[in-house]
């Protein structure tokens, strides 16, 4: 499926901003293999606006995919914004006339998304200490949203996640003792069931836009949203793989557990014990380890050709050392 995205964006610019409008500076940003993200600007009679296009470039199987459709993502963005959680405002859900396939356009929110810069650039020194608390507040708001019915979100608790990822691990054929230990240990220590809430599903440093003056400005990438344990989102942002060189700051490499949980409670979230967050952090490292194996497999089977895919298989060992650290500290 070959689409001339810049040309299609120019036609879309006319549709959105009127005759004479055009799309400028369309550029594909570094992104996943099945989902493309493009930055562009619409220059029209009313001025210039920075936009982001998200479009699916690979096949999509809504039954078996962990991801939602982009239409569902669009519905979610609007629902969470209504509850005061910052997501980039939706501008347009694409249809057939746009010739872009499954896609949507949001406004581009100013700020930094690169985790390493957020964690080390002096520009963010002033807001960095606020971020963990802001993340907690935003997660509490997201978790309070009634999921939009048209989004058809799936529900998954820890047992379901362990089943899914253990199956993927077995299918990969890899033999990794630390992953075996983690699967067994996490299965033997399942947290008590609790009422599922709306989760972002990929809430981590890298999917946050941080403004050097205000701090957390927007949360991106809603495609893994589902219903589940609130501690899943809280634990995911603590996974060491996205602390970007700052393992001493457990929340995203910028903050502490206490601030995350205090922010969560202050915005109306039901208190979550740290142990439950650590459990999901461990499950998060385990999931990321299996995802790395899956990405390697997608190259090994010929489904994906990018050099990025096999190399990501070499990131499994990072999740193994992180898992050992959590298991040694005790769960």
């Amino acid at each position: 499926m070959s689409v001339d995205v810049p040309a299609a964006l120019s036609r879309l610019a006319v549709r959105l901003a009127g005759k004479g409008a055009r799309a400028a500076e369309a550029q594909r940003l570094t992104g996943g293999a099945s989902m493309e993200t493009w930055a562009f600007a619409i220059e029209g009679p009313k001025g210039r606006e920075e936009m982001i296009l998200r479009r699916r470039s690979g096949p999509f199987d809504p039954e078996n995919s962990r991801s939602t459709s982009l239409a569902a993502e669009a519905a979610l963005i609007s629902a969470v914004r209504a509850k005061g959680a910052p997501a980039p405002p939706l501008v347009h859900l694409c249809d057939e006339a746009d010739g872009l396939g499954e896609a949507h356009v949001t406004r581009r929110v100013a700020g930094e998304t690169l985790g390493r810069r957020i964690n080390t650039d002096p520009k963010f020194d002033a807001v960095r200490p606020l971020l963990a608390r802001q993340c907690g507040e935003v997660l509490a708001r997201i978790h309070s949203v009634s999921p939009p019915a048209q989004a058809h979100l799936k529900t998954a608790d820890a047992a379901v996640e362990l089943d899914r990822y253990e199956e993927a691990y077995r299918t990969s054929g890899a033999e990794r003792p630390v992953l075996e230990l983690a699967f067994r240990h996490l299965r033997d220590h399942l947290p008590e069931a609790r009422r599922p809430v709306l989760l972002h599903g990929d809430f981590r440093n890298g999917n946050l836009i941080v403004d050097p003056e205000k701090g957390l400005a927007a949360v991106l990438d809603w495609e893994l949203s589902h219903l589940g344990d609130p501690a899943e989102d809280l634990g995911w942002i603590c996974v060491n793989s996205w602390r970007f060189g700052r393992p001493d700051r457990p929340v995203g490499g910028f903050g502490d557990y206490e601030d995350l949980l205090a922010g969560y409670e202050s915005a109306g979230g039901e208190p979550v014990p740290l142990g439950r967050v650590r459990y999901w952090q461990a499950l998060g490292s385990l999931k990321w380890g299996v995802m790395c194996l899956m990405m390697y497999s997608s190259w090994a089977t010929g489904a994906e050709a990018s050099v990025e895919r096999p190399m990501i298989g070499r990131r499994v060992s990072e999740t193994e050392i992180d898992l050992l650290n959590i298991l040694e500290a005790g769960l």
């Binding site: 550029q27 594909r28 940003l29 570094t30 033999e175 990794r176 003792p177 630390v178 075996e180 230990l181 699967f183 067994r184 240990h185 033997d188 060491n240 602390r243 060189g245 700052r246 393992p247 001493d248 990018s306 050099v307 990025e308 096999p310 190399m311 070499r314 990131r315 499994v316 060992s317 990072e318 193994e320 050392i321 992180d322 050992l324 650290n325 298991l327 040694e328």
Partner: protein, 118 residues
């Protein structure tokens, strides 16, 4: 094996060339070129450290399992025991064994990775 050049010198040379041309590429290919250079660097480390790491892993696996064997067989046996719950976090020496093996692997895969530590 021949030594003029050694395989790790070839991977190193190609990796350096990628770094040289990388700035001339478009952003997407700059990213992929960096991944490619990282891949060659990992291969270079495996060529220089791999044999030693595997020998050390076999030694640790033999000690925890109580008998000799080759890497593949010992590693598989440990996986089976962990999966069955016959060994776990409470098994004396297990976590230290796993840590030793994982740290040697990490030194090949991603030596700059910063993990939680004392």
């Amino acid at each position: 094996m021949i030594t003029h050049p050694k395989p790790e010198e070839l991977t190193e040379a190609v990796g350096r060339w990628i770094e040289q041309v990388r700035p001339q590429l478009d952003p997407r290919n700059q990213f992929l070129a960096r991944v490619a250079a990282n891949a060659l660097a990992a291969v270079t480390r495996e060529l220089t450290l791999g044999d030693q790491a595997q020998a050390a892993a076999v030694e640790r696996l033999e000690a925890i399992l109580g008998h000799g064997g080759n890497y593949r067989g010992l590693n598989w046996e440990l996986c089976e025991k962990l999966r069955a719950g016959e060994m776990g976090v409470a098994t004396p020496g297990l976590l230290a064994t796993l840590r030793g093996n994982v740290l040697d692997q990490l030194a090949i895969d991603q030596p700059s990775y910063k993990y939680e530590g004392p």
